[in-house]
Symmetry: none
Subunit: 154 residues, 2 copies
DNA sequence: TTTGAAATGGATTAGAG
DNA sequence: CTCTAATCCATTTCAAA
């Protein structure tokens, strides 16, 4: 992880669909070298993947919920993640300490849509039981600076 | 915004670097039709951009927790928000349905730091009891469009 | 070990139907 | 929306620093 990798990450954070030529230009590399480094960043796990930034307003999804998931058996985190990946209503998912196996943060159009999405979670993953806390009002949201740690330029 | 657009969004949420051929296959469309729809979704703002998912390990603070807050009496959401505002470790806070009054998402350097921050929550706000679920591993994180990335394509 | 350059196979994109 | 065709890009290979 050097300055070139950081430049690549910054570029691809700004636009995940950038071509290797664009990535290379941002990092001062040829397209083939840029591809090699990007592939390595993905392979080593520094980059977990690439996703679209969907406007929740455009989809009119404004029903939020925290969902505790209690699993049947003990599926691996990887299995759980794979199963949840196809459910776009699941915005975040973590395994957690305590009684529940996982905590989901879900976003849906409305209550029926949320209910349907939770049903989909229950049928897709080896889930025994879920416990939902629907968000009533948002008290505060602080920017998390996920990319902040990487944006320190040399 | 129909089922085809939804399928395109699902595909590109899963992998923003998918080719138009892959997107089209996921949506039952030809590559050129897939490109036209995706371009339109970006142009209308339904998709704000495409970004990489960087390993949170790169962050300085990498201990996360979901904290359920049970209040003494019934403070207003405004009072709660005001009390939590001064605690930087509280990244998100919502009032929720169910037994708990509020759900916090907290971010700290490590477990001692998290414990100290929770103590601070308990002493600052009229909190009766808290129940914490520390994040063990992150299964998936979808950007919520807060990062404000913009495609550089014309 | 990592880069840059060339070649080819496949993807992207505009235009026509 | 599909099809077609021209262009552009991704990916591999290979030689060089």
């Amino acid at each position: 992880m050097d300055d070139i990798d950081q430049a690549i990450i910054r570029c691809v954070l700004r636009n995940a669909r950038a071509t290797y030529a664009e990535i290379g230009k941002a990092a001062g590399l040829s397209p083939s070298a840029a591809k090699r480094r990007l592939d390595r960043l993905v392979a080593t796990g520094a980059i977990r993947g690439f996703s679209a930034l969907v406007d929740p307003q455009a989809m009119a999804w404004h029903t939020e919920a925290f969902v505790e998931v209690y699993c049947a058996g003990n599926p691996t985190p990887a299995e759980l993640g794979k199963a949840l990946e196809d459910i776009p209503e699941v915005v975040e998912a973590c395994t957690v300490s305590g009684a529940a196996d996982a905590m989901l943060y879900m976003l849906a159009r409305d209550i029926p849509h949320l209910e349907q999405a939770i049903q989909r979670v229950r049928s897709t993953a080896p889930v025994e039981r879920t416990e939902s806390a629907i968000v009533l009002s948002r008290l505060l949201t602080r920017p998390r600076g996920r990319e902040g740690a990487l944006s320190s330029k040399a």
